[in-house]
């Protein structure tokens, strides 16, 4: 890595919603991770784990009222470092589209239905790159071609509803990469798509990261997608990261019981038939507050009294890149030298030095 500081360092991000009469809901409860150029970081988890709220908080797309955002998300920009969570609305709007881009799950509702695709792309080029007229149109056609939309000049005049789901997602990606953003957030970009189309889109994202050196934050519930695409993976549960590791160690030696349970829940295409699934019992609703203990304890087969005494600390294992938040981790032969870290902030720095 050329630079010593990461492109984006998210530290102890927390988001709490206040609702009238319903009290406080902590959707994200202290999530830390870093994004590097040319790498894909994954946030994996089931519904309610806080993965989507994390992305909205980073993009500044959460509503103003009734939401409390804590922690920091420091991004390295050419003109210096800024904390995305503390920027003014206006400054953030300028950053979105130029430095930050987001791809959503539902491409149809993220595109303006009454404006042709071409105009939606050229508008971004005009706003952020100052391009005009035929130059902008030509660049727009180029972008559509790059994301694999055949016959792009004709497509420029078409409306979103005339494109298929896969083509719409490609158009959305074209708009996201129009200004060569340094950071892209993809929130379940392929969940609404068919498998064969999903494969096309994932391959396209992979190319963008390797060719343009964009940092990609991939948010998904699909462990298969993560295995194929992400370099570093954070497994989230009830608003906190329970396990963080590069992808190979994570899948080879998962240490947190939740990760193990998730992996045991997915039917594998390549598994011999008849191999039973070993799912996690209960549902996400069966949890306890992190301040009381491990939120996963009610669904865990390995919990002990120690799990119910305050939030479990982050523990680093192996070469220091594999981190989990568990008192009784699943044992693997190669787990050696466990170090309890003081604070999650230390984790980020340590990780940096080792890389």
């Amino acid at each position: 890595m050329s630079s010593s500081t990461p492109l984006l360092a998210v530290d102890e991000l927390s988001v709490a919603f206040h609702r009238r009469g319903a009290g406080e809901t902590r959707a994200v409860d202290g999530v830390s991770f870093t994004l590097e150029e040319g790498r894909v970081t994954g946030l994996v988890g089931e519904s309610g784990c806080g993965k989507s709220v994390t992305s909205l908080a980073l993009m500044g797309l959460l509503p103003d009222r009734g939401v409390e955002v804590g922690g920091s998300a420091v991004m390295r920009l050419p003109e210096g470092e800024v904390d995305l969570l503390r920027l003014s609305r206006r400054r953030l709007r300028d950053l979105r589209g130029s430095q930050l881009a987001m791809i959503f799950q539902d491409p149809l509702s993220s595109l303006n239905p009454v404006v042709p695709i071409g105009r939606q792309v050229t508008e971004i080029l005009k706003r952020h790159r100052g391009m005009r007229g035929s130059a902008a149109r030509k660049e727009a056609a180029d972008l559509l071609y790059r994301v694999g939309i055949p016959d792009p000049t004709r497509r420029l005049n078409e409306y979103p509803h005339q494109l298929s789901g896969g083509m719409r997602q490609r158009a959305l990606i074209a708009m996201a990469v129009a200004c060569k953003p340094r950071l892209m957030i993809a929130d379940e970009p392929t969940t609404a798509l068919d498998v064969t189309i999903q494969a096309q889109i994932l391959e396209l994202l992979k190319d963008l990261v390797t060719e343009e050196g964009t940092a990609l934050l991939m948010i998904t519930h699909d462990l298969g997608v993560v295995a194929g695409l992400c370099d570093d993976i954070n497994v989230l549960y009830a608003g906190r990261a329970v396990e963080t590791a590069p992808r190979r160690p994570l899948f080879a030696d998962p240490t947190h019981p939740y990760t193990v349970g998730l992996l045991g829940s997915v039917p594998r295409l390549d598994a011999p038939r008849g191999e039973p699934l070993t799912p996690v019992r209960g549902s996400v609703n069966d949890n306890i507050a992190w301040t009381d203990g491990c939120a996963f304890a009610p669904r865990c087969d390995h919990y002990t009294m120690e799990c119910l005494q305050g939030p479990p600390p982050l523990v680093r294992t192996g070469d220091g890149t594999h981190i989990h938040r568990c008192v009784n981790p699943i044992d693997h032969a190669d787990v050696v030298d466990q170090t309890v870290l003081e604070s999650p902030a230390v984790v980020g720095e340590d990780e940096e030095e080792r890389e």
């Binding site: 498998v195 298969g224 194929g228 899948f251 829940s265 594998r268 390549d270 598994a271 549902s283």
Partner: protein, 364 residues
């Protein structure tokens, strides 16, 4: 012994236009000539992408969609030929589990009422014969008690307790709701349960719970399933026989293991290569065939082989002119609808890089 046999089933939806008088201007060929048979006590998995007609097929078996042509033999009777009242009665033996666990439960009925409805509809419950002289009131009570017992039994089988009876669907989690949906199907003790995307609306860990439950119930009660899903890994996990659908027709059918070991149809091969596997080692090394383009419209399907517009193995002859029949290969259990399947299998015909978006050859 086959429990359900579908012969050349066609479901075409008319496309209607007009203000007062409907005028038919075309047909969506949602299911266009599918034949398959399901063995008693086994699971038949139907897999395909959205728009391939798999859901329509499942609903057509229950006659929830009008059948345009073809036969559906179930228990010695052709369901396609039944009048609507006989069909309504027959539905006690064929049940369905739906995709959306919340949407498929009436929000205003409590669980007890939801499960009781089928029993009431078909007049199930109560002893075969009442002793002489039982009053109507006593009979009624005996029937009600027996029904309640059946309902509680079904609930317990799916892992819920009798406490759930008085509660409403929105008070349960997604997985529990799907369990209620399964209990609703079970309570009638049907011969066949059609599961339409039974787990796709659920979280990963809950999916596995429901899949395991379906398997347990099959073992305990000897159920027969038709599982319809878009996820090949899920279908392969639960099914004995898997059928792959593309644009209204079956392109390949084989036992679950055979299909994985030797996928023969080009569509099955690309589909299989596109399914992500939660294992980086596998992901990095396997073959990947990225298809070009999208599914053609079922209102105007391509001539010849339905898949020829996207097929990387496409040949100049036959593919775009003649529709391939589903033919049984030498092994006897493997059926494929492709003109050139033998040549593709032997490697004589190689996929063309130009016709696919990209082909990554496996390294492992």
């Amino acid at each position: 012994m086959s429990l359900l046999e579908i012969k050349d089933l066609k479901v075409h939806f008319p496309i209607r236009r007009g203000v007062l008088i409907d005028r038919t201007i075309g047909h969506v060929r949602a299911v266009d000539g599918v034949s398959l048979s399901i063995t008693k006590g086994q699971t038949y998995g139907l897999v395909g992408e959205s728009g391939c007609g798999k859901t329509t097929l499942g609903r057509a078996v229950l006659r929830l969609n009008e059948i345009t042509e073809g036969e559906v033999w179930f228990g010695g009777r052709d369901l396609a030929g039944l009048d609507s009242e006989s069909m309504r009665r027959e539905r006690a033996n064929l049940q369905m589990v739906f995709q959306d666990p919340l949407g498929s439960l009436n929000p205003r009925q409590n669980v007890g009422a939801i499960l009781m409805e089928g029993l009431q509809t078909h007049g199930i419950g109560g002893p075969e014969e009442f002793p002489e002289g039982t009053s109507a009131k006593e009979r009624h009570r005996a029937v009600e008690e027996d029904r309640k017992k059946r309902v509680v039994d079904a609930l317990e089988r799916v892992g819920l307790s009798a406490k759930a009876l008085k509660r409403y669907p929105h008070e349960f989690s997604g997985g529990q709701r799907q369990r209620i949906g399964i209990a609703r199907a079970l309570v009638l003790q049907p011969d066949l349960i059609i599961c339409d995307e039974p787990v796709s609306a659920l979280d990963v860990s809950i999916q596995a719970q429901v899949l395991n439950l379906l398997e347990e119930l099959q073992e305990e009660m000897g159920l027969t399933y038709l599982v319809i899903a878009h996820d090949l890994a899920v279908v392969r996990h639960v099914s004995d026989v898997v059928g792959v659908m593309y644009l209204g027709s079956l392109v390949e059918e084989a036992t679950s293991d055979e299909l994985y070991e030797t996928p023969m149809h080009p569509y099955t091969r690309s589909l299989m290569s596109a399914v992500p596997v939660p294992d980086p080692t596998v992901e990095d090394s396997r073959e990947r065939i990225l298809l070009a383009g999208d599914l053609p419209s079922p209102a105007n399907p391509p001539a010849g082989c339905r898949f020829h517009t996207r097929c990387p193995w496409r040949q100049e002859e036959l593919c775009d002119t003649e529709r391939p029949e589903l033919r049984t290969l030498k092994s006897g259990t493997h059926r494929v609808a492709c003109h050139y399947v033998e040549q593709i299998l032997s490697g004589e015909i190689q996929p063309s890089e130009e016709r696919a978006e990209r082909i990554l050859h496996g390294t492992g």
